[in-house]
Symmetry: C2
Subunit: 339 residues, 2 copies
């Protein structure tokens, strides 16, 4: 497979910059959750209000602790590296620590950082770089089964749910692969395609490349991106959906999200039922039998009673298993996949 492949030397320092809001620190939080054994510290600049629960390390403490790679764990809208981070990143490189990032702007385009890295003999690793030679989608049916997570917005648990479902399927003895489509997933598993960085004509072709023909009883569990009802990113979502040709989708939602994150009052999030219907209508162009097999809700904002009420109402409204992967696990959705 023609994928983006990376090798990040552990242990990691998670660099959080001056980010405000957990939604923009998905990469750091995802790495801290899924590969905690590789993480030994975090570094935050003034103003940062995100905490990964790791030891606070400055440059010299990071060096002493044996940090091999500083991972930029923040993904601001647009994916640019703020100039204010420059001095801290340069100091890390000078201390002999590799630096990895998954933003649209590249570490290797920051001249002082490139110079510091060269002098110190450390690597700058840009993860959000699509592999060369991607094809246009051919759009023909292929064997193997595929599940795609979709969402009511960005940052609602699509990667988390896909990773949790993949783990659950393996636990049950089902053949399955997690397919990463974003920088965090690629950092966690070491390969994938950063689908939102692919030239627009190749989105669906990249999705086909990422989830190729396979054994008829093998499941690719594909990390979704954006939302088909997201005003800025829906094109990415649609191309991924068409190329993935999913047999099944799982809708991901955040119970506290009333509006598309960062796009103002004109964009309320659509009800789960509406998003499911919209996605299935679009999916059927390339995958005529696509169905929704469950809803995965982030209910961290709710107490137990409110969570049970919400999940119960959603189940009644949609007839689908509705879960919070952190609280109830994804078992009911894995059950639904068997049917």
């Amino acid at each position: 497979m023609n994928l983006t492949r990376i090798q990040l030397d552990a242990p990691y320092l998670l660099f959080l910059g001056d980010v405000q809001g957990h939604g923009f620190a998905k990469t750091a939080l995802g790495i801290a959750h899924w590969v905690p054994e590789r993480c030994i510290g975090q570094m935050r600049l003034p103003g940062c209000d995100v905490d990964c629960g790791l030891a606070e390390l400055d440059v010299s403490a990071a060096r002493e602790a044996g940090v091999r790679t500083a991972v930029i764990g923040v993904a601001p809208i647009g994916g640019q590296i703020p100039p204010a981070w420059g001095p801290a990143l340069t100091a890390l490189a000078r201390a002999g620590i590799n630096i990895a990032a998954g933003l649209h702007s590249r570490l290797t385009d920051i001249a002082p950082l490139v110079q510091a890295a060269r002098q110190a003999g450390v690597k700058l690793i840009d993860v959000r770089v699509p592999p060369p030679g991607l094809p246009i989608a051919n759009c023909q049916p292929r064997p193997g089964r595929r599940l795609l997570t979709v969402g009511t917005d960005c940052a609602v648990g699509k990667k988390y749910t896909a990773l949790a479902l993949h783990r659950e399927l393996l636990r049950r003895g089902t053949k399955a692969s997690f397919r990463a489509t974003g920088q965090t997933g690629i950092m966690i598993v070491g390969e994938g395609i950063p689908i939102d960085a692919v030239p627009a004509d190749f989105i669906a072709g990249a999705a086909e490349t990422l989830s190729p023909a396979n054994h008829p009883d093998h499941w690719d569990v594909i990390e979704g991106q954006g939302s088909l009802l997201h005003p800025a990113y829906a094109g990415v979502t649609l191309g991924l959906l068409h190329g993935a040709q999913p047999d099944a989708i799982v809708l991901c939602h955040d119970a506290a999200r009333t509006h598309i994150q960062g796009f103002g009052p004109n964009y309320p999030t659509a009800p789960p039922r509406v998003v499911i219907d919209t996605v299935l209508a679009a999916a059927r162009l390339t995958s005529p039998d696509c169905r929704c097999v469950g809803i995965s809700v982030n209910t961290v904002s709710l107490d137990d009673a409110a969570r049970e009420r919400l999940l119960g109402e959603l189940e009644q409204d949609t007839g689908l298993p509705c879960i919070d992967p952190l609280v109830t696990g994804v078992g009911p959705i894995a059950d639904a996949l068997r049917n």
Copy 2:
């Protein structure tokens, strides 16, 4: 505006390679039609069955005729430059002729061609290169009126219809700009954004950049791309639609097209009414009052009676003005824009 801007020295030689089928020679045919005064010849390799109606020139004849730029006028699926074209392109460069192309693969990546161009002192001009620094879409309303052409497939007249409507609006004294989103349109007017080459996250932001805030009575006439029901390219179409925030769409269709071109029997083209409804439903996310103002049909495959019957049936079915821009002109659609 942060656009792709190019300067192609005339006169042009249209290079057709060994292309078969007019649908893949859109660039050459578009340039020959819209800026005939810049074209003095064509060059075809064995197997080519497309004819732009220009003088057949070999390399020495092109040089003698004063050709300044050879324009690669072919856009095969995937946009790669076939190796078989190499010798002819290199010979043109050696003859002192600049070479321009709008494919995904770049002239400047073909080492022998780069060397020949350097030795001969000619330019290699890659048109399908997005401008740097594109923003993520902000998705907020902006003044100015915008029309986007959409289609039942690729190569059904979206560029032609947009250029014809732009010309008709100017003729009537309406303030209007043509906004090019593809290589051919950019070659014709000298600027635009090749929307299908933009990194996927930036499709809608590129469309906003291309059609910025303007006077309330000014029309941007935006060239559409692909089709929302195209299995390989719909992501491009959706991002462009959301970023363009069109007040009006015009559906383009080819009366002879029964299936999505090049994607086999699984993909019949959808009926115009279905495509319009699908596009309007998606458009309303960012442009709540978007409406369809007409259907532009390529009826070259029909005789007069069949054309009149088809356009009449479509008008009855949709209640919209239905025209063939080459036969009837786009006047009825320009009329509908006033209402």
